[in-house]
Amino acid sequence: MDWFNHLNPDLQFVLLSAVKVLAVLFLALLPMVAYSVLAERKISAWIQDRVGPNRVALPLLSGIPFLGSFLTRLGIWQPIADGVKSFLKEDFTPDHVRKIYFWLAPAITLIPAFLTVAVIPFGSTLGAQKMVIADLNVGILYSFGIVSLGVYGIVLAGYASNSKYPFLGGIRSSAQMISYEIAMGMSVVSVFMLVGDLNLSKVIEYQAGTTLGFIPNWLVFKQPVAFVIFLVAAFAETNRLPFDLPESETELVGGYNTEYSSMKFALFFMGEYANMIVSSAMMVTLFFGGWTLPFFGLDQRAESAQWLTGLAHIGIFVAKMLVLMVVFIWVRWMLPRFRYDQLMDLGWRRFIPLALANILATAVVLFLLNK
């Protein structure tokens, strides 16, 4: 590492950030997307008394006695086969589409999800490095800004496909996302009123420690209403059931992605799961104390020599995230789709007033406590 220390600090920063971006993207996010698809398929299968993917076997690895066949039955290799498949499929562009937008739309759906990851602190420190790609002091504003870009991809896909079902899907998606974005934004306002800072690392620091010795200081306990609103809005934002109206296979064929095939379709698909991952990461950060655990002193930043604690923090963060991912998946196989007007009603007439009331209540409590 000698050569590294001789570089000027700016260059060091750029290099380290690049390493973090690549690591987070290719070692964490993309594999997680692939395997959350598998988890979705497996969990749905179990809930419906089925087996789920259990056939894909890798030539050598599956030969390992017991373990190999166990992994095969778990469908561990399935995402690899799926990935290869979407690359090998014919990439069909129908004649009637608006070509440029048709090509742009999948990318525009996927990129915002990846960009949001940048501000999420997924660990404390590893060595001397803070485990967050960009420690922005307006982290949450940035992520809200970027997340709302995601809707453009879907609307654009609906417009570019130039046929009725995708178009309806696009319209629904824009209406839905706009209404739930407001509720979501308002729900976190009360969180930041408590924390007093928009930086996500600060939010996590605020949640360290316990009250009464055993209840963690997590914001989910202090702001349950905000959490519920955020959770529901997150379902709507990520187009997951029960709010998957833009996609709704039964009425809109496939919604905005009807005309898409092969890798372009896969990009939409990955976008959905990437969004889920990002939303869970966001919820963990905002409401579940991020990488902290209130026991064994795991709620303090790791010193630069404590590599193990640093790694444990990342592990804690990922574990909490996975739990939320399972909730996302579980709910999908539990609730039927809402009707469109019910969805709008829930967003505008229930959650927005509720969020406002929550802000007001938080303000009053804070005022009384500070007096």
Partner: protein
């Protein structure tokens, strides 16, 4: 018919009871599938559906318990087969004789095109010798069309042995002996 819409009370309108109910049902199914009952899925190529009695699967030729081909190449099945799936090549005048007593002949070649066969069972019904049966095979696969035409050898092998209780050819032989008339082959 007018469906009466019940007014939901406040508690129900919160969606919470429905949520809890849903969670309970799905969780029970998940736990049952994973740890108790197992999945209801039949894993096809390894586990196969046992078909009920009387199921009409693929038609195969059978041998009798002495290992002789029962078919006498009468071509009735070929004639009755609605989609013309059966093609029989008779031995001809100077051809090979049957491999059992009291039978005039047996087919030189007997082909069933399984792609044409509609598993109607007419061949089994029409056969005077009980030589062809619809068995329980329901999954016939092949990688090309030629592979799906089963020849005599294959049909006999798949069909196996039929334990004929009546053995009408033996009665025939006895009757012929009584009347001092001898069949083609003794």
């Amino acid at each position: 018919m007018i469906v009466k819409r019940e007014k939901l009370n406040f508690w129900e309108r919160l969606y919470l009871p429905a949520l809890a109910g849903g969670l309970k049902v799905t969780a029970t199914h998940l736990v049952n599938t994973l740890f108790k009952r197992g999945a209801v899925t039949m894993e096809y190529p390894e586990q196969k559906w046992t078909v009920p009695e009387g199921y009409r699967g693929a038609p195969y030729l059978v041998k009798d318990q002495d290992g002789a081909t029962k078919c006498v190449s009468c071509q009735l099945c070929e004639f009755v087969c609605p989609p013309k799936a059966i093609k029989i090549t008779p031995p001809g005048l100077a051809g090979q004789t049957a491999d059992r007593a009291n039978a005039e002949k047996m087919p030189l070649e007997f082909e069933i095109n399984m792609l044409r066969c509609i598993f109607c069972g007419f061949c089994q019904e029409v056969c005077p010798e009980e030589a062809i049966f619809l068995m329980k095979d329901y999954s016939l696969t092949g990688t090309n069309r030629a592979e799906m035409i089963y020849n005599k050898e294959k049909l006999l092998e798949l069909g196996g042995v039929h334990h004929d209780q009546i053995k009408k050819w033996e009665h025939k032989l006895d009757e012929a002996k009584e009347q001092e008339m001898f069949p083609v082959k003794d």
